[in-house]
């Protein structure tokens, strides 16, 4: 088996050296305010009491950079659910989905609940977020986080999302797909085997296809991963654009990013895919992310 490295992305990642450097460097700790448990102003005071550096994230005021912190979870305020520790790059997907208050939302792959609790916060604890996951072991941490953060608008469910059989149709669906997580490779440049990528690519496509089926006409779907591999990102979205009644939309958030890819090697995905975004570790000194926003036709 040939071991591939991050160098397979040399031609698609601008500032490749900076990118490699960022992969290897230590990441800044970021946390997100939980409005269900504390006022924002009060949280800032609490964070300042516990950490030397507290700075609101420029593109997302409810996220905070704490600098390099060893144990950001070891505070009373974390135990009380006043904040959630979340990578800065992972804060973008829920914002891209932007669910309105009182809507019906499905988070297909939800554990341990980073994005679920953020969606709940964006909806101000109204409406419904169905937070689903297939892995029973991971549901425990999902339920723990939903309880700690007091998300009263969240229903936790245990299903294989590709096999969901329901007559419910959702206003918003988030597919935070299982992936090779290359955005979290720290200090490693060797990637998962190609076979793993291909297997995941099929699963991701099945998940996104189901998401399209479960979305109401004119509803919104966000597909995201924390990997760089175009096979798990643009390829999946391009295939769905071809076969489902959905179109891709621009993502209106100001997070630093690169555009999605039109092509990779011999694969052509289409110009439309430039509307997707790719967040690289050097953009935020955080993990990596791919996000595409789709609209179901009316």
């Amino acid at each position: 088996m040939v071991k591939e490295t991050l160098y397979r992305y040399k031609d698609i990642i601008p500032d490749f050296d900076t990118f490699l450097q960022a992969i290897k460097s230590r990441r800044i700790t970021t946390v997100r305010w939980n409005p269900h448990k504390v006022a924002r102003k009060e949280l800032i005071e609490e964070l300042k009491e516990c950490f030397a550096h507290v700075e609101s994230i420029s593109w997302y005021k409810d996220g905070f950079r704490l600098g390099y912190v060893e144990k950001p979870g070891k505070t009373l305020y974390h135990a009380l659910g006043h904040y959630y520790i979340q990578e800065e790059s992972a804060m973008a997907a829920a914002l891209a989905l932007a669910p309105k208050k009182h809507s019906l939302v499905l988070d297909m792959c939800a554990a341990p609940g980073g994005k679920t609790t953020q969606l709940s916060a964006l909806m101000e604890n109204t409406g419904t977020v169905v937070a689903n996951d297939k892995a029973i072991a991971r549901l425990k941490s999902l339920v723990a986080n939903v309880s700690r953060l007091a998300c009263v608008n969240v229903i936790v469910s245990w299903n294989d999302a590709t096999k969901l059989d329901t007559s419910e149709r959702f206003d918003y669906v988030l597919v935070d797909a299982p992936c090779t997580a290359e955005g979290n490779l720290q200090n490693k440049i060797t990637l998962m085997p190609r076979e793993t990528r291909e297997t995941l690519s099929s699963l991701q496509k099945a998940l996104l296809k189901k998401a399209c089926e479960l979305t109401k006409p004119n509803g919104t779907i966000v597909y995201c991963t924390c990997t760089f591999a175009p096979e798990e990102n643009e390829r999946v979205v391009a295939a769905i654009l071809e076969e489902q009644e959905v179109k891709i939309e621009k993502i209106g958030i100001s997070v630093p990013h690169e555009k999605g890819l039109e092509s990779f090697g011999k694969e052509f995905y289409g110009e439309e895919l430039k509307k997707a975004i790719r967040i690289y570790p050097h953009h935020l000194n955080s993990g990596g992310a791919f996000i595409a926003k789709l609209k179901k036709k009316g």
């Binding site: 604890n125 419904t128 309880s147 007091a150 998300c151 469910s157 419910e168």
Partner: protein, 149 residues
């Protein structure tokens, strides 16, 4: 539904929590648990549902018992049945050691460093922790490893 609201409101009144604290929420009773949910929560079909919103009460053979997360959530309204503990006392409680404190018997809200952190039980003379395993674990780690709590 109205009966359930009344039951919840009356129960939490002993902590001084006013009815208005519940006005933006709805309740669901499933088995021995009562859940606090959003007003417009949709009871979706076709899902293998594990939890609804926040579990706030459950029925034991001695009657209703509040969850620690419920007391945390309604902390700003809690005025009565508060038991303040210091670091040492909290660690003892977590380790299963009852605390000598005379308070009216029944469930009480544990307060630590000015914050309501969860539930304990008083028999009139002694207080015993009713914190769930998850919170006990979190507080043990916190008390044993950091001074910034």
């Amino acid at each position: 539904m109205q009966n359930l609201r009344k039951k919840v409101e009356e129960y939490f009144a002993q902590f001084g929590i006013p009815k208005k604290a519940f006005k933006h929420f709805e309740f669901l009773e499933r088995g021995s648990s009562i859940w606090l949910v959003s007003k417009d929560l949709k009871k979706v079909e076709g899902f293998n549902i594990q939890t609804f919103g926040l579990r706030i009460l459950h029925t034991t053979k001695w009657g209703l018992k509040p969850t620690s997360f419920a007391l945390q959530f309604f902390a700003p309204y809690i005025k009565k049945r508060i038991c303040s503990v210091n670091e040492r006392e909290l660690l003892d409680l977590i380790k299963g050691k009852p605390l000598e404190k005379s308070m009216e018997a029944g469930y009480v809200a544990l307060k630590f460093r000015g914050k309501i952190i969860g539930c304990a039980l008083s028999d009139g003379k002694m207080i015993r922790s009713q914190l769930p395993k998850l919170l006990m674990q979190i507080f043990t780690e916190l008390l044993e490893t950091t001074d910034k709590i």
